[in-house]
């Protein structure tokens, strides 16, 4: 008995004295001290920041759906997520798909600032740390430009806020934010490399930072933000372009292929993917699956984005004329208004003799794609009434599909995803930006020259725009070139707004085409109809700041909401 008591008391004593039992460290987290003193972890932190950058193949602010709220296309199944953006119904509380941009961008900014405040140059290779810091400055600038272009003036946080700080701050002007962004990029550019190879391929380069700086300056100079019409702002744009052209000046010879090839010299910044990571939108993408017409991809193409007839009409004939200027008549049977100057346009073969970029960008009936002709005609394989009845629900509702970015070698084998890169920036954009700047700076000759550089690219080879165009004619040529050259790369949405053209452009209805094919002759007839009515009130050129944010802060809501 005594033994038992002794054993019990002893164990009581030993266990009772175990005060260290509560000393537990997290098992799945790394302490701040370890993180910032380990160069590998510092690098991983920066890698994580890249993931916060939206890309055009799926995520929130991505291009895929941004084109669906422009005059470029109609997003399939858009109703619940996008209808408020295209029918004028947007309020501060129904932002749905894009509603989280505010939060996500500021979260990215916080994470970037946290790096800048914590990174220690003594850890690892100082050049590498400087490079990583420059990358982070680039990424932070990217988030701010995203905010400005959506909301106008926004709160500018140069450093992280602390929980105990006064959290109520005012919106800073676009000018002020852009000044910060260009400062940051100027600070970053010297530390960035011109090219990356090996494991660094895909990280931010000098050219990418220069391109981003041009975008910032361009927004600042554009009519939407430059109400004082300060033309010196365009001078800065032009100068920045010239800096870029000093290190990158070669357009690609392969308009279609460069979207599959991130090594193409025209590409300035991109995000890579892998085929093996199914549905993981940070490391793979489903763009082929989403965009293949319904009869392709093992009859599982989603045809998720339906281009607008109006965009198709905007592609010039080979002689350089826009063939269709508009429509008249009943909404279910529209009559095209032909441009008499477009003499080579054949309404019965509307896709013939057109700017080659039409074929590179848009899938139309009869286009040769991935081994066969696309069949959008009634009863065709990619129509809503396919011969075998399969996948009819996913068919295009306008009679067109998006071709840009697609990998024609893709097939739906065991659910494999796609690995083409998302191209954030390429040189042609900046040639056209330069042309726009030169237009405003009163140098139409230079402007025309840079537009023509884009038009005369190998494989496109469109005739030069007429000499001695002046004033609005030249400006609309430049805008038109941007619309065609950069279609489905998200630029349309940003550009229309900064030009203050959004109301005009985005109030246009989506027009579709119904094609009937005569079985015996193979001849097609075309009926045009309004597929989707659109309305874009002026105030929607800026999105509302989310309602919840307005109630928490002193921020003034954008007008109209």
């Amino acid at each position: 008995m005594k033994k038992v008591i002794i054993v019990l008391l002893l164990s009581f004593y030993t266990i009772g004295c175990d005060d260290s039992i509560l000393e537990i460290a997290p098992q799945d987290q790394i302490s701040a001290e370890t993180t910032w003193n380990d160069p590998e972890l510092v690098e991983l932190y920066v890698n994580g920041l890249y993931n916060l950058l939206p890309h055009g193949f799926i995520k929130w602010a991505g291009g895929l759906r941004l084109s669906g709220i422009t005059d470029e296309s109609l997003m399939f199944g858009q109703n619940s997520l996008l209808n408020k953006y295209v029918n004028g119904g947007l309020t501060a509380s129904n932002l749905h798909l894009y509603g989280s941009f505010w939060r996500d961008a500021y979260n990215g900014i916080y994470n970037c600032s946290l790096f800048i405040e914590n990174v220690n140059e003594d850890v690892g290779d100082p050049d590498r740390i400087a490079h990583l810091t420059a990358e982070v400055r680039f990424l932070r600038a990217w988030f701010y430009i995203g905010l400005i272009s959506r909301y106008g003036d926004v709160p500018l946080l140069r450093e992280t806020l602390k929980l105990e700080d006064d959290l109520l701050i005012e919106r800073s002007s676009v000018e002020e934010v852009m000044a910060f962004v260009t400062e940051e990029l100027d600070a970053a550019i010297p530390h960035l490399k011109e090219n990356h190879s090996g494991d660094d391929f895909g990280r931010v380069t000098k050219a990418a930072a220069m391109g981003l700086k041009i975008r910032a300056l361009m927004y600042d100079a554009s009519p939407l933000f430059n109400s004082a019409q300060d033309m010196s702002k365009w001078k800065k744009v032009a100068d920045a372009c010239e800096d870029l052209f000093a290190i990158r000046n070669q357009l690609s010879d392969d308009y279609q292929g460069m979207f599959l090839n991130p090594s193409d010299p025209e590409i300035l910044f991109f995000k890579q993917f892998r085929k093996d990571a199914v549905y993981d939108f940070n490391t793979s993408n489903g763009i082929d699956y989403f965009r293949y017409p319904s009869g392709f991809g093992g009859q599982l193409g989603w045809a998720g984005e339906h281009p607008n007839q109006v965009l198709v009409d905007a592609y010039e004939t080979l002689e350089g004329e826009i063939p269709v200027l508009g429509y008249s008549g009943q909404s279910d049977d529209l009559t095209p208004i032909f441009n008499p100057a477009a003499t080579t346009y054949d309404p019965d073969n509307p896709y013939q003799n057109r700017d080659p970029r039409l074929n590179y960008t848009i899938l139309y009936d009869g286009a040769f794609f991935s081994g066969r002709e696309v069949e959008f005609f009634e009863g065709g394989k990619d129509s809503a009434d396919p011969p075998d009845g399969n996948n009819a629900n996913n068919a295009s509702t306008t009679g067109y599909g998006v071709r840009k970015n697609l990998d024609e070698s893709w097939t739906l084998e065991s659910g494999e995803s796609s690995d083409q890169p998302w191209v954030y920036m390429r040189l042609a954009e900046f040639f056209l930006t330069y042309a726009e700047a030169q237009y405003y700076l009163g140098k139409p000759g230079v402007a025309e020259k840079y537009v023509d550089k884009v038009r005369s690219r190998v494989g496109v080879e469109m005739p030069p725009i007429a000499n001695s165009l002046t004033g609005m004619d030249l400006l609309s040529k430049i805008k038109h070139e941007r619309q065609i050259e950069l279609a489905f790369e998200t630029n349309r949405w940003y550009d229309s707004k900064r030009w203050k053209d959004a109301v005009r452009n985005f109030s246009q209805d989506i027009i579709g085409v119904e094609i009937t094919k005569d079985e015996s002759t193979g001849e097609r007839s075309f009926r045009f109809y309004t597929q989707h009515e659109r309305e874009f009130p002026e105030h929607q050129q800026f999105w509302p700041i989310p309602f919840s944010e307005i109630t928490k802060t002193n921020l003034k809501q954008n007008p109209g909401y």
């Binding site: 993180t35 972890l41 994580g48 619940s80 979260n107 660094d200 009845g389 629900n393």
Partner: protein, 1097 residues
């Protein structure tokens, strides 16, 4: 003297009742003669006419009364018709010999019973047992000893010789003397000072739901259990004790056999449960930092030391049929098509389906293309089966007792032709050993295996896929081929397992070794006790998806093509999880009686530690679906991952109970609790509790004979809640974990932590900051007060108790989401911000009585709890109608509906959403600024958590037959039910708006699609969740004793039971009123009809 009294008209042979205090023999005789026609005859002189007794006879036969009197007054008697002759007792020759009887008294669990009274019935003299249950008494040989102890049945034994007795007292079933399990101990119900309610095994097993929680619904005042799903193996209820007192985690602490945090009790074998107690007030304070949401203490059965020394075997077996309480009544094909047409017209598009609708009406459609499918009926069974068998053996001797049991439960899912369902195997071994006079040791192993087989994907997704499938789609073509539907997939492949399945097996072992060492060598009443518990939780699950035959049909060619090839390969993912919880506790205690003073005290140390790990792996393109093994999959796309975690607690606590004459009761508890969730230096908190009771009916001056118990009690305490994410005081960085992919079900997952860099497309991880550190984080603290009255009348025939409580919860942990702007960009930690008060009452009453052989009872209870936010973080410019301070925690937010827009003129004349059209729900412009926007969203402080819950039960038994009916309901609860805008309940279609001419009085909006104004949250969709249901009916028959004896068994009972039988009131109509989903897309609550038997031998 002869007494000869004559009575006239009184009845013979009928049972009689009378109560007399301090009655002499003569007065008793007088009473009997006045009530009956019996006549006494006796000779005085030898008869004791001086001694006075209190007598109480209820419905007793005259023979039994006389028999009892004969032992009290020591006479012989003879009854001849109505004539009772009393003669001097012929005592055995040695009758007056003095003998000494020694004995040892203990209960069925071998616990000695100190303070039991042993009375010589002949002399009315007695002794009490000592601390270890021993006694010694000198009596006349041949007398009868009456042994009694509060809470136990009286025991009588005739003693003839000097002897040593081993006496086991059985617990008494009476309400008042019930032993109630409280925190770290037991108490008699009559001496409780806190708000503790208990349910015993016989009530738990009466309801035949597979999940024990189902049996508690409505049975415990103040306990809100909402069963939100009927899915086998996943039908856990949400449990709230006295409503919701916090924004944060409001789950009560669960304690199983004295050990906290061993997981839920819902999957224990219900036949193994001895009792479940709910500690609702400061009585829970002894659980310190985890106690603020109340504590549920579950106790399993222990071996009973059988009087005859033989093991007792008990077999329970039942078979049940289950079905949803409410079935969906969705739109028909023509209704859906008409809806789509009308929706198009409303947004200015042409109607698409006129031709098809006409085709339906004329019967001219290709039946292989356009069907009329009731998908619910096609995919689910009318009835599903549930089987349960439990066998237990218990018994033991003085030094060793055991309870062994094992149970099997099997539940089928509602899906037709499926193998889906739930299997559970439980075993329990409770051993109690007496190693020496002063050392008891207990060993307990409680294990179970739960096996679940479910369809691929989330179950609500599977139900949704049945709900959303359109009625014009076909499940199968006329040739039997599985048909492709307009949504692509077909739920039939999910529910019959062709598309794959998910299987998981979890094993739980709750192991505990305990001891109690009495230390009489130091002082009587001192003891040291403790336990070590080592609980192991393991689970393993796998998800297998595989291609299956599904065909598309071409109406043009009449051909079918198999789409199997497009579904990808056979893919497998597996995960395992393993947790270990070790708990150690030591108590030093002291229990002693000093005359009228009873003192109980203990001080204890407890620590617990848990470790866990998680691992997963997946591969695609397995060689065969028959061989679901990772090794047989492709290495190309393989994935794996895992994580570890640890937690620990350290606690010091104690309790002092004192009572004087069992009349004045005081109890003090304190706890000093340490948890790793908080930063070093502020990890420990102090949680005191105090309660008092006054048993007025025990006062000598209390003379109201029909009040058998009257007690007032009150308690107050400070309790804590520390259930937060750990390490919020540190700034850390993590590789954000990713969830695995369930392919083939649309259930994909985004991985945030990887990026592709390099020419070789290397995947790299990303590192992210955790939330901003909060160095001041601490527990929530609740101040709880309770006052109550307990009343028992007419010898316990009527019981009543009422509790009133007030809780104030401070330092409620919540992130400052409402006021910290999103532009700050950081993830917020929890901060001790909120203050909520919660008040309410519980009233319970019960009445039981009998008329002849018919026993009957009625009981009922009602509970009310209402919380109110005193402080919370609110956004600066929150409009008045969106402010939550001053309101209750739960709320439903939405626009205020104000009818339906009939035409454009009405829209133009009012503030409206930018894209409003006729047929839309009209919203009120609360801000009165001429526009409708988020500022006009109003908060209704309504809640799916009811404010009132109530129940009542009626029952009776006659001979072996017994029947009870249990009704349960709630009041003041609301939910927003927003239907999916296609294929919804027919009611929405029938009452819809079409145009101002056709339907000026429509109650539902016009046909609409997802993301439109009608699908916005608004008061239009709110329905009242008040209900009353016949929760349980139980009918049983016990075979009569004669037959039982012939069969040589102890008990044979057959029973029938129905749970959730029907709703007497359901204002929600379309769903079960306990549903909380907008759409009804969840596994429905089940009605259970059972039959079974209980056999004991």
């Amino acid at each position: 003297m002869f007494s000869s009294l004559y009575a006239t008209s009184n009845t013979l042979a009928q049972p009689i009742s009378f109560h007399l205090e301090q009655a002499t023999f003569s007065s008793i005789v007088e009473e009997i003669e006045s009530q009956t026609s019996y006549v006494f005859s006796f000779e005085s002189g030898w008869l004791d006419l001086e001694t006075k007794f209190d007598v109480a006879y209820n419905d007793m036969k005259i023979e039994d009364i006389i028999d009892d009197l004969s032992s009290k007054f020591r006479f012989d008697y003879k009854i001849d018709n109505t004539y009772i002759q009393i003669t001097k007792k012929n005592l055995p020759p040695d009758s007056l010999q003095q003998i000494t009887v020694k004995g040892h008294i203990y209960d069925e669990y071998n616990n000695p019973l100190p303070g039991a009274t042993i009375i010589d019935k002949r002399t009315n003299q007695g002794v009490t047992s000592d601390f270890n249950g021993f006694f010694s008494i000198s009596v006349d040989a041949g007398t009868v000893l009456l042994i009694s102890y509060i809470g136990y049945k009286d025991f009588e034994i005739e003693v003839v010789n000097e002897t040593e007795l081993e006496i086991i007292l059985e617990t008494k079933a009476s309400e008042l003397n019930e032993i109630v399990v409280v925190g770290y101990g037991v108490q008699e119900k009559s001496s409780l000072t806190g708000a503790v309610s208990q349910i015993k095994s016989e009530d738990i097993i009466e309801t035949k739901t597979a999940n024990i929680e189902g049996a508690l619904v409505g049975r415990i005042p103040g306990l809100t259990l909402s069963v939100r799903s009927g899915q086998p193996g996943e039908d856990d209820a949400s449990i709230l004790v006295r409503g919701r007192g916090t924004f944060g985690n409001a789950n009560p602490l669960i304690v199983i056999d004295g050990v906290a945090n061993r997981g839920n009790f819902s999957r224990l074998n219900s036949y193994d449960i001895e009792s479940i107690s709910v500690l609702k007030d400061a009585s829970a304070a002894i659980y310190g930092a985890q106690s603020a949401n109340g504590v549920i203490v579950v106790t399993t059965k222990k071996g009973k030391h059988a009087a005859n020394g033989k093991p007792r075997v008990s077999v329970n077996s039942e078979y049940s049929l289950t079905q949803p309480t409410i079935k969906p009544n969705l739109m028909t094909a023509v209704q859906v098509l008409t809806w789509e047409n009308e929706r198009n017209v409303r947004i200015g598009s042409p109607p698409e389906f006129n031709r098809i609708i006409k085709g339906y009406e004329e019967g001219t459609l290709d039946p292989n293309e356009w069907g009329e499918t009731d998908w619910w009926a096609y995919t689910t069974n009318k009835w599903s089966e549930q089987r349960r068998t439990s066998v237990s053996v218990d018994g033991g001797s003085e030094s060793f007792s055991y309870y062994l049991s094992s149970g099997l439960l099997n539940q089928d899912a509602i899906f037709k032709n499926s193998v889906f369902g739930y299997d559970q195997f439980n075993f329990l071994a409770n051993f109690d050993l007496k190693l020496s006079d002063n050392l008891d040791v207990g060993v307990s192993i409680n294990g179970r295996q739960e096996k679940r087989i479910n369809p691929l994907g989330d179950i609500n997704g599977v139900i949704a896929s049945i709900y959303t499938r359109l009625p014009y789609d076909l499940p199968r073509y006329s040739n039997g081929f599985l048909a492709e539907t307009s949504g692509g997939s077909n739920p039939v492949a999910l529910i019959n397992g062709d598309a794959g399945d998910q299987q998981s097996t979890s094993r739980t072992y709750l192991n505990k070794v305990s001891f109690k060492l009495r230390l009489p060598s130091i002082t009587d009443g001192l003891y040291l006790s403790g336990f070590g518990a080592y609980d192991i939780f393991k689970s393993r699950s796998r998800s297998l998806s595989k291609p299956y035959d599904i065909y598309s049909y071409s109406p043009n060619t009449g051909e079918y093509s198999n789409l199997k090839g497009q579904q990808g390969g056979v893919n497998l993912s597996e995960n395992t999880r393993s947790d270990v919880l070790s708990t150690l506790q030591f108590q030093l205690g002291y229990d002693q009686l000093f005359g009228d003073h009873s003192i109980k005290f203990f001080a204890a140390y407890e620590q617990s530690k848990s470790d866990g790990s998680y691992l997963f792996a997946s591969r695609n393109n397995l060689v065969s679906p028959e061989l679901p093994s990772l090794d047989l999959g492709s290495e190309i796309d393989q994935r794996n991952g895992g994580s570890n975690f640890q937690a620990a607690r350290q606690n010091y606590f104690g309790r002092l109970s004192y009572s004087y004459k069992n009349r004045y009761l005081v109890e003090l508890t304190s706890r000093y609790d340490g948890s790793q969730n908080f930063p070093p230096g502020s990890r420990f908190g102090f949680f005191p509790g105090a309660s008092v009771g006054w048993k007025i009916s025990e006062e000598p001056s209390f003379k109201i004979s029909w009040i058998s118990n009257l007690k007032l009690r009150a308690s107050v305490g400070i309790l804590g809640n520390d259930r937060i994410a750990p390490f919020q005081y540190l700034q850390n960085y993590d590789v954000r974990s990713f969830t695995e992919l369930v392919r083939g079900t649309g259930g994909y997952v985004e991985w945030y932590n990887r990026n592709v860099f390099g020419e070789n497309k290397q995947v790299t991880q990303g590192l992210y900051p955790s939330s901003v550190p909060n160095p001041n984080v601490t527990w929530e603290s609740a101040t709880k007060a309770n006052v109550a009255i307990d009343l028992s009348l007419f010898d316990g025939k009527f019981d009543f108790s009422a509790d009133f409580f007030y809780d104030r919860r401070e330092d409620i942990l919540l992130p400052r989401l409402a006021s910290v702007p999103e532009y700050a960009g950081f993830q917020l930690p929890d901060e001790n911000l909120g203050i909520v008060n919660n008040k309410g009452f519980e009233v319970a009453m019960a009445y039981n009585n009998k008329v002849g052989d018919f026993n009957y009872f009625v009981n009922g209870q009602i509970s009310y709890a209402r919380n109110q936010i005193e402080f919370m973080d609110e956004a600066k410019d929150t409009p008045l109608w969106q402010r939550r301070t001053g309101q209750s925690i739960d709320f439903i937010s939405g626009y205020q509906a104000d009818g339906i827009y009939q035409n454009q003129a009405e829209i133009d004349a009012s503030a409206h959403l930018p894209d409003a059209i006729p047929g839309d729900i009209k919203f009120k412009d609360i801000k009165e600024d001429g526009v409708i926007d988020a500022k006009d969203i109003a908060f209704s402080f309504l809640s799916p958590t009811p404010r009132y819950i109530y129940s009542f039960e009626l029952g009776g038994s006659w001979k072996g037959l017994s029947l009870s009916a249990f009704f349960q309901g709630q009041l003041q609860a609301e939910t927003m039910y927003r239907p999916w805008p296609l294929n919804q309940d027919r009611a929405f279609y029938v009452d819809r708006w079409i145009s101002d001419r056709e339907t000026p009085n429509a109650t539902q909006p016009g046909a609409y699609g997802a993301g439109t104004n009608n699908s916005l949250g608004s008061t239009h969709w709110i329905r009242d969740n008040s209900f009353l249901r016949l929760k349980n009916v139980f009918l049983s028959y016990d075979l009569p004793d004669e037959i039982i004896k012939k069969l040589k068994i102890a008990q044979l009972r057959i029973f029938m039971n129905g749970s959730n039988l029907f709703l007497l009131q359901n204002n929600v109509e379309i769903f079960d009123p306990e549903s909380t989903t907008d759409t009804g897309w969840y596994y429905p609550q089940q009605r259970v009809i059972s039959t079974g038997l209980t056999l004991t031998f």
